[in-house]
Symmetry: C2
Subunit: 181 residues, 2 copies
Amino acid sequence: MEERDAVTVFQLANGIEVLERTPAVLNALLAGLSDDWVTANEGTDTFSPFDVLGHLIHGERTDWIPRARIILAQGPDPRFEPYDRFAQVQASQGKSLAELLAEFARLRAENITALRVMEISERELALTGVHPELGVVTLRQLLATWVAHDLGHIAQIARVMAKRYREDVGPWRKNLPVLDR
Amino acid sequence: MEERDAVTVFQLANGIEVLERTPAVLNALLAGLSDDWVTANEGTDTFSPFDVLGHLIHGERTDWIPRARIILAQGPDPRFEPYDRFAQVQASQGKSLAELLAEFARLRAENITALRVMEISERELALTGVHPELGVVTLRQLLATWVAHDLGHIAQIARVMAKRYREDVGPWRKNLPVLDR
């Protein structure tokens, strides 16, 4: 654990360990679950587990690997396309949860293969692109964000689901901080 | 989703859907993962993913089903044993993550069987026991808490893992609230 005191710890192989597990995590958590759980959210303009899945699919299509390619190309215009956080509302319409889980698993597997084929070096991790809002970012930051973004959305799904029982737990609520986050 | 406006929504079958998925979720998230991920925590007296797993095992052994039995027995002393939140520090010592995952999966499967065999009725969900700190609680509250407790710890594991990359994500940190929770 000595790494943890360092300012940055990201290593590509270590990040891929998480990226390649996410489809199975979402499958274990959501496949076959009642709609009560899958469509619960935290209020207007917040994501249900179903919405999160669509959002992750959109990221696989338009965000992580396309942005990594822009950085690695080091072309004359290193700006990323803006990312639409609500694009999945249209894209997921009429699809079942099972379809979304399968689609995400397929896209993620393709993108991990693409990432491995890139054979990104330490030097290349320091290359930069331009985020439309955040400005100059490195490839290392982009890839670390991909991993943290997965984990954040797994945490979100579990939190949103837990909140269904916020009142049901009675006096235990004060011992369950996830219910009031 | 009409249920969500009600104060309480807990139904036993609906809760069991989550309880029976947790071992596979933890397996998908943690099995085979590097120690860097599994032993990361949020500082002194906070849980790593490894610690959480031990804590969940301790709950299977001493908390949920034993307390449900105390309530259902309606004996002269309906008080629960206090629950030791750090019991796993001893109990997990020398065990591998794979052993803990297998132990949790086995205990959880046994406990779901035990729960089903109880054939708990609506009337019985309203029976009460006495929590050493929280006072009178119902069986419904206990079982809803079991579910929310699982989900809270899944969220915690994902959050603790995400925080390893808190610095690595650079300017994306402000878009990833999980890193500062």
